[in-house]
Each structure stands twice: as C-alpha cells, then as structure tokens.
Symmetry: C2
C-alpha cells in the first residue's frame, strides 16, 4: 500500500493528497507530528517536513514539490503540468504559492492558529495574524486577476497550480480567515475546484479542538 | 540571444548560470536590482525575484527552480537530474539547499553583507550573522557526510544538487565566511566542482565594493 505521512492542515500535504486523488492513485494517510523529530521519520526525510510519500514498493519520496514532480514522471496519464511551455506558468505559480505566498499568509495562519496549539507552544501572535490578513487581501486580488483573465489559474487547463492554490486557501478557510465575498472571481474559481471529487476527503477532515465554519464543506457556499 | 537577468551574488542566479554552462547553452547576463521594482521586470516575473531567463525567441522563464526544470525538459542532452529514481534525491537535496539551507545560512549572508550595502539599507546585523555561522557549521557536517558516503552529493552521478550546493557555498566563500579546513570531504568535493569549466565565470565575478579572499578563485585552495 502507498502511504502519505501528513498533517491534516498542512497545505503541502493537502496539495499532494489532491494530486494523488486526481491521478486516481489509492493511498492511506499516516499522521506525522514533525516536531516529535521521530528518528524513523527523520531517516526518511532529513528535513523533517511533511509530507513524505512511501510507495507500495517501499520507495520514499519526501517534500511536496519533489513528490509532485515524481508523480508526474511516474504516472503521466493524468497530466497536471501541461505541455513544455504551459508548465512554465504552472510551475511558476505553484512555486510562488508554496514559497512567497505561504510565507506571507498560509504558514502564518498554520503556525499561529494550529501548530502552536497542538504542539503546546503558546498563544497566537495577533500582530502576525493581522499582517497575514493584510497580505491575504493583496494576494486574493492577484488570484482574482488570474481567475478573471484565464480559464484556470495558470492558463487554459486545470493544473497543479489550481490544486496548490486551493490547498492553501482551504487551510485558511478551515480557520474561517477568508472573506469569500470580496472577490467573485476567486469565489467562483474556488467553488469549481472544491466541487471536484478529489477535494471531498479534504472537506471531511476534522481536527481535534477545531470547528471549521459551516461554509467550509458546503459546495454551494 | 538568450539573456539571464541576475545579481552576481545571488546563489539562485549562480545555480542557473552553472546549469546553462554545463548544458553548453550560450547566454548573456543582465544585472537586475530587484529592489528597484522595475515595471518591465515585474511584468516578466511578478514575484520580482532573480533570476529570470529570456530565451532567444522571447519566451520568459522566471524562478530558478522553474528555469532548471525547463532547461531539463528543453535541453535534455546533458542530464543533470538522472533517471526517475535518482532524480528524487537530486530534487530533494536541491529543494533543501534552495529552501531551508538558504533561509538558515546563504540568504542571511547575502542580505546582511551584500544586499543591505548595495541597496543602502544599513549595517549588517551581527546577531543574525552569528546564527548563520552556527547553522553553517551544522550543515557543513551534513554536506560532509554526503560527500564522504557518495561519489557526488546526491549519489553516483554529478547532478543539479552539486551545482546548487556549490552555487550557495561560492557566495558564502566570496565574503570569506567558510572555513574549508573544518571538513576535508566538503573541501575535496568543492574543489572538484570548482574545477569544472562551468565554474570559471563565477570565479571571475567582481562586485563593486567587495574583495573576495585570495583562495576564492584558487582551484588549489
């Protein structure tokens, strides 16, 4: 069996779960708390991050970006990158979402609202959250411009960039930190991605101590 | 003609210069100061980072990771990723070097010693530099373990991971912040990479206001 070592509210893990589901590759989830620095896990993924994928044959693939490239190479039938030119924009957007966007927005929410609580590291930093909220507003405008001018975020085709963006936004939505009314283009694009069968397991995630808002799992939000 | 918009002491730009040279793809350098937020540049690369590659046909490829994947797809003759299994480790290490390693080490040196000076943003933060130096010592030990147990950093073959690591270390060496005597395995591996023809242009870089140490460009350091 294929295993994905993950945390439910990690956007990187959610991105990989979506890619696996889009490619119709069955897998089981194993929860990993990276702050435990479990020696067996560190041996598989020296960076100590989640996710790490373990294939049925025992092959270990750490890091969400490495996993996505591996899944593209290994299971090309459902193509989430596009042709050699389209994939420039797909990879650019995905790298921007997983990098600068995450640093300015998602990682702040995840750290302050989720990781600090479950790892017993104290209370959320209100200043950091206010800054993340301001950053999110700016970036929602950029997503909106992409969604307005293109069929999907990276161009004509549904791609890894849509999955990456939706994975991040779904985490922020779980803690009710997105006002979907501010941008109809982003709302409508997210509604389309959220309705895909690959998204259903994410909407069913429940995290001890957290109650997502009513609209979180509502496809008609 | 192919252009690379770059900064001389950006490890990400150096990595791409090395990949282009290893693949024997001619290019010209254009210096870009990202803090100027030049509209023409921001239109090509909305993240505003360096490098950005512009192909002879006008095609624009931003982001060093996207550029390296693009060059692999487009010019596969000189293969820097390896077969589909070898490339898992190549991509893992490259992502670790460009991500967590850079955050803990290279980006601190680049920001404190170089960017702050050339962009007129004040003096280096001594505390940050001390922490980066401590982090570097730990990570040199990890590079040493890789260099001792493998022919090259990611395995049997020379790869993108060697170029990424050498690009980062070359930047730190430029400001004389590496003590090469602490780990002979890292020293010997770096001497091998540094001796490659692709490395020569990097060793000839001169940056106004900075004098690299004598050993910087010495192949027999």
């Amino acid at each position: 069996m294929r295993f994905l070592h993950h945390l439910p509210l990690s956007p990187y893990c959610r991105k990989v779960r979506l890619v696996l589901a889009e490619k119709r590759l069955p897998f089981e989830l194993r929860t990993e708390k990276p702050w435990d620095l479990r020696p067996e896990y560190m041996a598989m993924n020296p960076a100590g991050t989640v996710p790490t994928l373990v294939e049925g044959n025992g092959r270990v693939i750490p890091d969400s970006q490495v996993i996505c490239e591996y899944l593209h190479d290994e299971y090309p039938d459902v193509d989430l990158l596009g042709d050699r030119y389209a994939r420039i924009e797909v990879r650019r957007l995905t790298a921007w979402i997983d990098g600068p966007f995450a640093q300015a927005v998602t990682n702040v929410y995840v750290t302050e609202k989720y990781l600090k609580r479950i790892s017993g590291q104290g209370h959320p930093d209100a200043t950091a959250l206010r800054q993340a909220s301001a950053n999110l507003k700016e970036h929602i405008a950029y997503f909106g411009w992409l969604a307005e001018t293109r069929a999907f975020l990276a161009g004509d085709a549904f791609s890894l960039a849509d999955l990456a963006a939706a994975a991040h936004l779904s985490v922020i939505d779980f803690t009710n930190d997105i006002d979907w009314s501010t941008n109809t283009h982003v709302h409508d694009w997210y509604a389309r991605v959220k309705s895909r069968p690959s998204f259903r397991p994410l909407l069913n995630d429940r995290v001890s101590g957290f109650v997502p808002p009513d609209h979180y799992a509502d496809l008609d939000f």
